[in-house]
């Protein structure tokens, strides 16, 4: 097994309903659709034969329409839900094989979770909510208090420690949920639409902060979102779900450039490519360029860029110039980007 794989899902199925087992057999044999299963067995296929792996330090974004099974899938990772079939491995450990005690220990210390509906404890103050995970591990009250205050500061709610959750706005509650998930300093974070109720400004700030946090502290994150821009900004890789199935998994660029089917293409349609497509995707090899233009010798006088430069920066370089851009990797000429190629690249 790959050492760096922190979370791995193997053939995970989840069917809700009394006759789940029966329905599972029928679905696997005859490949029934979600609607057919509901009609015949009164059971809901929420997750359908999903395989994926998340590596250490990655932010794995899951996207999909409402009801496509995203929340159900992440709940399998800390085993709030038992799969009908399949396995979930966390750090190589089969979650299904853990005893109740081991599972509790794992949840308390290694996996933090932010819920779509916040699910704060209404009878506890904001500070006590944040310190909840610590308290469950019998941490002393002083430490609880201190670390909760620190986290309140991080999420921009300093001074709200003694408020009750019901006194906060939806967005503030989401931030409390985030702080609560971070309190026990877990190395795996499961985040179910954690920023959905925030205004764009705070959202962007928290996204940036979250990126820094997960990089510096090497956290592994599964992040559910409806917001494509957010997925593109944060996601190391993105998984797209439809009716319980994982339709496609890939880097943001991958998904934009090679959508697997119409559903995925619809999903990523209208997204600005400027920051997601890079020079190496659209450049011509120097030999080929030379054959058609024959002025490669002047390459040193042209604007220079790195293969990882995005289209946005290439546009700034080429504006007002007559010549193309030379792409160099460690000083070596790797390719040429002409104006035409750039325009084509933006168009997609």
């Amino acid at each position: 097994m790959d050492e760096r794989q922190v979370i791995e899902a193997r053939e995970v199925w989840k069917i809700f309903g009394e006759r789940a087992e029966e329905a599972l057999r029928a679905v696997r044999q005859d490949g029934l659709h979600k609607a057919e299963v509901l009609e015949r067995f009164g059971a809901v296929v929420a997750v359908r034969d999903v395989d994926f792996a998340v590596e250490k330090g990655e932010i794995f974004c899951i996207m999909g329409l409402s009801g496509s099974g995203k929340s159900t899938l992440v709940r399998h990772i800390n085993r709030l839900i038992q799969p009908t079939h399949g396995q979930i491995l966390v750090n190589g450990q089969d979650m299904g094989a853990l005893s109740a005690e081991e599972l509790r220990a794992l949840r308390a210390s290694r996996i933090g979770m932010v819920f779509q509906n916040m699910a704060l404890l209404p009878h506890r103050t904001v500070r006590d909510n944040i310190a909840f995970a610590l308290e469950l591990r019998n941490t002393d009250p002083f430490t609880c208090h201190q670390s909760a205050n620190g986290l309140l500061e991080t999420v921009g709610l300093a001074g709200y420690g003694d408020a009750m959750p019901s006194e906060l706005s939806g967005g503030m509650q989401q931030r409390v949920g985030l702080a609560r998930a971070l309190a026990a300093d877990p190395d795996i974070l499961l985040m179910d639409e954690p920023f959905s109720a925030l205004d764009p400004l705070i959202r962007r700030g928290l996204q940036d902060e979250f990126l820094v946090l997960s990089r510096t502290m090497d956290k592994t994150t599964v992040f559910i979102t409806h917001d494509l821009d957010e997925a593109m900004r944060l996601g190391s890789r993105i998984g797209i779900m439809r009716d319980g199935e994982m339709v496609q998994i890939g880097t943001p660029e991958d998904i934009i450039l090679h959508p697997k089917d119409g559903y995925v293409a619809d999903f990523v349609q209208g997204l600005s490519r400027l920051k997601l497509v890079f020079a190496h995707r659209i450049m011509e090899r120097p030999e080929i360029y030379d054959k058609s233009h024959g002025n490669l010798a002047d390459a040193d006088t042209w604007p220079q860029a790195h293969p990882k430069a995005d289209l946005n920066s290439l546009v700034s370089l080429i504006v007002g110039q007559q010549c193309p851009i030379a792409i160099r990797d460690n000083g070596k000429l790797a390719g040429i980007v002409t104006k035409d190629a750039l325009l084509k690249g933006i168009q997609g």
């Binding site: 709030l80 509790r104 949840r107 699910a119 591990r137």
Partner: protein
């Protein structure tokens, strides 16, 4: 619903009469014979134009027979009941007329007068009931029949039209009910005792008039069968070494008994057996309750009144604010002025002790009910039974096993007052949102932590409502338990009742009401704060 006339113009002249042919056809299909007449009436009902005095003469004259013919059974029963009661009254007139003649023959003038009076009263009642019943039926007939029609439109299997078969069914019902009922009213029914005597006479082979037999079997108490062998008599005398032995004696009489006597004798013997061989259990329970009660009474009764009253007022202020403090002080002063202090404190002690037991036992039971299917399956039916049995009845088993005094009183109170504690605790826990519990589990809460840190705190309002109810129920039951010697304010009322000292009883009753108000208000306010 809007009915569009075929070919009619929308938004046309408002004066055009609406086309009712659809409705009329449907009415006629439903009514069958005399469809025109019912069609017209139903149309007027539909348009809310039926005059208030409208009567259906067929129903007025035909009575319940009309309803049977039309298959409208509710009207049939209304009409039949009215006529039946009128007939019973006529039978009573006959009965008292005969009785008056008999009394006159016996020379008992005062009886003659009384019977004549009754006879007249029943005659008036019979006439009024008969005519009023018919009028009512005639008035209701078309209105209910229209209702019947609307239901028939939804469900075509309902009776419609008019058939002779239904008339037969109606007559059959009348034949089954009417003759015996009227006969019963016209006779002086034998009482149960004389019927038992009669049964014995028959067993001994004596001649009994047929009418007496018939009366005993049909118009007296439901004839219980006397067919069970009387059970032998058990006693459990104590031996010299303290153990008990079982002695069986033949039953005192060989006559068979009915089910009631047979089973109650068995129950008595069962209780005797339990007391003889498991007496230690009941004694133990009694002792523990007494220990608890002594501890509570030490606070309320054993402490000088100055200290107790100050303590109570201060507690009220602290728990429920200064206004409740003033009210509490007023209640306590009433108790002192009328010399109820000790008794009132004794009642409060009983209430507190019962409440403590209810809470201590009810909370875990409630948690069990909420958490386990088995718990719910076992406890819920038991609670249902406990709540349907009248409070009075609890006193019986308490006395049977624990004899009289305060401990059995508290025990009966606990059984009476505990159900809301269990129910509301379970309800509170079950209503904790699943998402909140899930969040706690996701952060690694153990079942114990989930219960203590999430479920119980969130269920607390419901639990406190349960405590409030327990306190109030305990107080009411503690008063009733005075009948079995629990003492307190209830005893004064019971005693006053027995000696018809109305004044004393009323003063004590007001005292009880004041205590109830005081406790209720304080507990409620304290819950809200």
């Amino acid at each position: 619903m809007k009915v569009h006339a075929p070919g009619g113009q929308d938004g046309g002249q408002a004066t055009a009469p609406p086309d009712n042919s659809d409705s009329l056809a449907s009415f006629k299909e439903f009514a069958g014979p005399r469809g025109d007449r019912y069609g017209r009436t139903f149309l007027r009902i539909q348009q809310a134009k039926l005059p208030g005095y409208h009567l259906n003469t067929s129903a007025l004259i035909g009575g319940f027979l009309w309803a049977a013919l039309r298959g409208n059974w509710p009207l049939f029963w209304i009409g039949f009941a009215a006529d039946m009661v009128a007939a019973v009254n006529m039978a009573l007139v006959h009965k008292y007329d005969l009785a008056a003649v008999q009394a006159a023959a016996d020379g008992k003038d005062f009886l003659v007068q009384r019977y004549d009076g009754w006879s007249d009263a029943h005659l008036q009642a019979a006439l009024i009931l008969f005519f009023a019943g018919r009028l009512l039926l005639g008035w209701l007939a078309d209105r209910l029949y229209y209702h019947h029609y609307t239901r028939w439109r939804i469900n075509r299997s309902l009776p419609s039209g008019q058939t002779i078969k239904r008339l037969g069914v109606g007559m059959l019902a009348v034949l089954l009910v009417a003759p015996l009922t009227i006969y019963r009213a016209s006779q002086f029914a034998p009482d149960q005792r004389s019927c038992i005597k009669l049964a014995h006479m028959i067993q001994d082979g004596e001649q009994v008039p047929l009418k007496d037999r018939f009366d005993c079997w049909t118009i007296s108490e439901f004839p219980t069968l006397v067919w069970l062998q009387r059970p032998p008599q058990y006693s459990f005398p104590r031996n010299d070494d303290g153990t008990r032995s079982i002695v069986v004696k033949e039953p005192s009489s060989q006559r068979p008994v009915n089910l009631n006597n047979w089973l109650s004798e068995h129950i008595d013997q069962g209780i005797g057996y339990m007391k003889a061989f498991y007496g230690w259990l009941f004694d133990g329970v009694t002792r523990w309750i007494r220990v608890l009660l002594n501890a509570v009474e030490a606070v309320f009764v054993g402490t000088p009144w100055i200290v107790t009253s100050l303590m109570l007022v201060m507690a009220a202020v602290k728990l429920a604010g200064s206004r409740m403090g003033v009210f509490t002080a007023a209640v306590l002063i009433y108790m002192m002025l009328f010399g109820f202090w000790q008794t009132a404190m004794s009642t409060i002690s009983l209430t507190v002790a019962a409440t403590v037991i209810c809470v201590v036992a009810g909370l875990p039971l409630g948690i069990w009910v909420a958490k386990s299917k088995v718990g719910a399956a076992v406890v819920t039916p038991a609670l249902d039974i406990m709540q349907t049995i009248p409070s009075f009845v609890y006193l019986l088993p308490a006395v049977a096993f624990f004899s009289v005094g305060k401990p059995p009183g508290i025990l009966a109170t606990v059984i009476f007052a505990m159900p809301p504690m269990v129910r509301l605790t379970a309800l509170g826990i079950q209503h904790v949102p699943a998402s909140t519990k899930e969040a706690a589990l996701a952060f690694g809460a153990s079942p114990r932590q989930l219960l203590l840190k999430v479920e119980l705190p969130l269920a607390l309002p419901s639990i406190m409502a349960g405590v409030n109810q327990v306190v109030m129920l305990s107080l009411s039951m503690v008063v009733i338990a005075a009948i079995i010697g629990a003492g307190g304010m209830g005893f004064i009322v019971v005693d006053a009742l027995a000696r018809t000292q109305v004044g004393r009883g009323i003063l004590a009753g007001i005292g009880i009401a004041l205590i109830a108000m005081m406790i209720d208000r304080v507990v409620q306010k304290a819950n809200r704060m």
